[in-house]
């Protein structure tokens, strides 16, 4: 619930203080599955690092809308 609050705070700053507040968020896509179950698994962590690299290189990864979950 932290991120909706973050977006709400920015909204209030815009409406109340006329502040120029932008907020963007990236997250692991909802349809991503770990290739291997378990925690701190090299295969999974590398898979995620690659995903992160690809998304990081693509500005379209950023969302400026509050997350829907």
């Amino acid at each position: 619930m932290g991120s909706p609050m973050f977006f709400a705070m920015a909204d209030i700053a815009r409406f109340k203080q006329k502040a120029e507040a932008e907020q963007r968020i990236v997250s692991i896509p909802g349809d991503w599955f770990p290739p291997v179950p378990g925690t701190f698994i090299k295969e999974t962590m590398n898979n995620l690092a690659e995903l992160g690299e690809k998304m990081g290189a693509d500005p379209a990864s950023w969302s400026s809308a509050p997350p829907q979950f």
Binding site: A8, D11, I12, F15, F33, F69
Partner: protein, 437 residues
């Protein structure tokens, strides 16, 4: 019942501690279980999970759009009811738009005694007082709040007395350790709740649900949160619709299951199967239901303005009963993993709820700033300096102490805070008691 907090989390984490000792026993039992083709302990929850394909789980997960659609449908019903009240008031010559009252009751386990007592005390505030207990247009509950919500929804003195009496008289069998081998990891939970199940059966009757269906026929809402664990999402149940089904069919078990799911502390209490899916405590995904997942343009003030742009805005009033403390009483944490995790979890749940409360206040502020809507939020919570008289959970002494405190605070409109924090202290209550009247 709302908080994987305090002592009860000991139960959950003792599982881990007991694993080593249980391994040999499990191997033997697994062998015998395989021979008899059925799990010997509990309901074989681990077998169930492994049978669900990830792709099926993804398909089952509702999308944000589906959730928004369901919320819009519910709020649409409420908007129609508000319009109907609006018209009635106008016909009777009343100039002011009606107030829309939404009661939000949080989780909190046995500390729900505070909320039940508060409702009883609130009845004593004279009806002419601006903060008198209204008839609620919507009541939402999570976990222990789910147990209280149906009674608050009916709202009559007898219903309120009934729920207060239940919290004031906890029975030993409400929560029972699952035999000597309670710690075995294939158990569905550490504890059984035969007494709690009995209370639900005794109090949530077909007659009561018929009354709820009737009371909600004009669009009033009674919503409770649960968590569907496989997909890790909340599922809000519309108890008016469920009550109508019971009124039609006489089959009440599903409603009992929903309430027990909503109040089912994960790991400690049994999970519940509803529509073939596995459900636990609603507090896992949201310890209050307040519309925090709804986009601003779908919020109640926005829907009202969209539907009736030429009518004045009603006053929207949120009343939040937080069956917990905003700030826990500081205490030294023992230097071991169990104590650290226990304290961390209760702190985490409390912090998430406090953030949700702040979000509700922020949403109200945005409605005011963006739409000039008239939105008020008030909250009561257990004062930060209150200490349980007895450390155990579901202790009669503690629950009566909290019910007493709730009754006193409920009768005093100054208990409400218009900021997302507690402004009341237990010291304040005891000083008020000693003041000459």
């Amino acid at each position: 019942m709302g908080q994987p907090m305090r002592t009860r989390t000991t139960l959950i984490f003792l599982v881990g501690a007991a694993l080593g000792a249980a391994v040999a026993t499990r191997r033997l039992l697994s062998l015998v279980g395989a021979m008899t083709e059925r799990p010997l302990w509990g309901y074989g929850a681990s077998l169930r999970s492994s049978q669900v394909a990830p792709e099926d789980l993804l398909r089952r997960r509702s999308t944000a759009d589906e959730q928004s659609e369901a919320a819009r449908e519910l709020l649409g019903r409420l908007v129609k009811r508000i319009k109907s009240r609006y018209d009635q008031d106008a016909a009777s010559g009343r100039k002011e738009p009606p107030a829309v009252d939404i009661l939000v009751i949080s989780g909190g386990g046995d500390w729900g005694a505070f909320g039940a007592g508060f409702l009883k005390g609130w009845q004593k505030v004279p009806s002419y007082h601006p903060l008198a207990k209204p008839e609620f247009d919507a009541v939402t509950g999570v976990s222990t709040g789910t147990l209280i919500a149906p009674f608050a929804f009916l709202g009559d003195e007898q219903s309120i007395e009934q729920i207060v009496s239940m919290y004031r008289n906890p029975k030993k069998d409400w929560v029972k350790q699952r035999g000597y081998l309670y710690f075995l990891p294939d158990n569905i939970s550490f504890a059984e709740v035969p007494g709690l199940e009995r209370e639900i059966r005794d109090h949530i009757t077909v007659d009561m649900l018929r009354r709820i269906a009737k009371a909600g026929a004009d669009g009033r809402l009674l919503l409770v949160n649960t968590t569907e664990l496989d997909v890790g999402q909340p599922r809000v149940f519309d108890l008016v619709a469920e009550a109508q089904r019971v009124a039609d069919s006489g089959q009440v078990e599903r409603v009992h299951n929903i309430i027990l799911a909503s109040a089912g502390i994960p790991g400690a209490f049994p999970f519940r199967m509803i529509d073939g899916e596995l459900y636990v405590d609603g507090g896992v995904t949201g310890n209050i239901i307040y519309g925090g997942r709804i986009a601003e343009q779908d919020s109640l003030p926005a829907l009202w303005q969209k539907a009736y742009p030429n009518h004045g805005d009603p006053k929207f009033r949120f009343w939040v009963i937080f069956n917990n403390q905003f700030r826990p009483v500081p205490k030294p944490v023992a230097p071991n993993w169990l104590a650290v995790i226990q304290r961390s979890l209760e702190t985490s749940t409390r912090a998430a709820t406090a953030t949700a409360v702040r979000h509700l206040f922020a949403m109200a502020e945005i409605s005011r700033l963006k739409r000039k809507a008239d939105v008020e939020v008030r909250i009561v919570s257990i004062p930060g300096d209150w200490l349980p008289p007895v450390p155990a959970i579901f202790s009669k002494e503690t629950m009566n102490n909290l019910a007493d405190l709730g009754e006193k605070m409920g009768a005093d409109p100054a208990s409400w805070s218009s900021e997302p924090r507690d402004s009341y202290t237990a010291q304040h209550v005891s000083e008020a008691e000693t003041k000459p009247s």
